[in-house]
Subunit: 145 residues, 2 copies
DNA sequence: ATGCTTCCCATTGACGCCCATATGGTCCCA
DNA sequence: TGGGACCATATGGGCGTCAATGGGAAGCAT
């Protein structure tokens, strides 16, 4: 398996750490990803996590615009100012910072959700609700897959 | 990491100093930047901070415009008239001058915001509001492939 | 001298690094 | 087929290091 698939929920410990599921870690290793880039999802209250390529995709978007335009400025504010680089510790855990908590509503547990070329961090209940909504086709305004 | 990414908020002490985040300082070292050039952002109430290359980039932009246009005139006024050189102290702190306070509204805390090739100083709440606004106005920022 | 800046050192609190334990699943063998 | 050994993952916590912060004291200019 070389893609991020399925989901799993892990507990945050007293120090604010949470284990990334082993399946996801093995995908990271396969892809040679060592530094993780985290970005707020544009639609859902979730944090997207991937390798540097994730950042580069967004940067190409910015580069396409006039670099001094208000539009490029606004995009950079989101992508560069809102993005965070993280590393896993020796046990494959990451810190759940306030940046992540505030945006996702995550409290004591984190749901890891595979998204093929990256994965996401969700507040467990928010994920279940979003999935239930998607199943009922109530996401007509969401972005296409 | 060789770019300015993510954001962090630090407190200004009684002497008006504030620590530049260690991550940003390490990027400055990597780039061999010793003198910091500060100027007002063209769109947001924020101060941009970078090496001499930052100034040069703005000057090229001015040069590219019609030298007698109101736009070039306005940019020159901001870049040349509003620019300041600064240095960090031994602990990696910088002085928050009235020039910075007046333009940004910064009071007791400063939010450092990465912008890839430079970083910015924001009043914390102004940053959160600007980011939220940028996310709302995402219509123009489609999901990259 | 007074106010402001620069250099230096102390404190403390957070984070990274390391090792220990628990838990659940799998495989092997009787 | 059932029991048990083994293993990988998830989780908990100790401890050292470093960043952020606070403040004293010496230089500089007004």
């Amino acid at each position: 398996m070389n893609r991020f698939l399925s989901n799993a929920t892990n507990r945050i410990d007293a120090k604010g750490r949470v284990s990334v599921p082993a399946l996801f870690r093995s995908v990271l290793v396969q892809r040679g990803v060592q530094e993780l880039y985290c970005l707020q999802d544009l639609v859902f209250p979730a944090i997207s996590v991937g390798g540097p390529d994730l950042l580069e995709r967004y940067e190409r978007q910015i580069a396409a615009a006039d670099p001094f335009s208000p539009e490029a400025n606004r995009m950079s504010l989101l992508v560069h100012g809102g993005g965070v680089f993280m590393r896993l510790d020796a046990e494959g855990r990451l810190m759940v910072t306030d940046f992540i908590r505030d945006f996702t509503g995550i409290g004591t547990d984190v749901t890891f959700v595979g998204r093929s070329d990256h994965f996401q961090l969700w507040q467990p209940q928010a994920f279940h609700e979003a999935q239930a909504a998607a199943r009922e086709g109530r996401l007509s305004m969401s972005r296409p897959q």
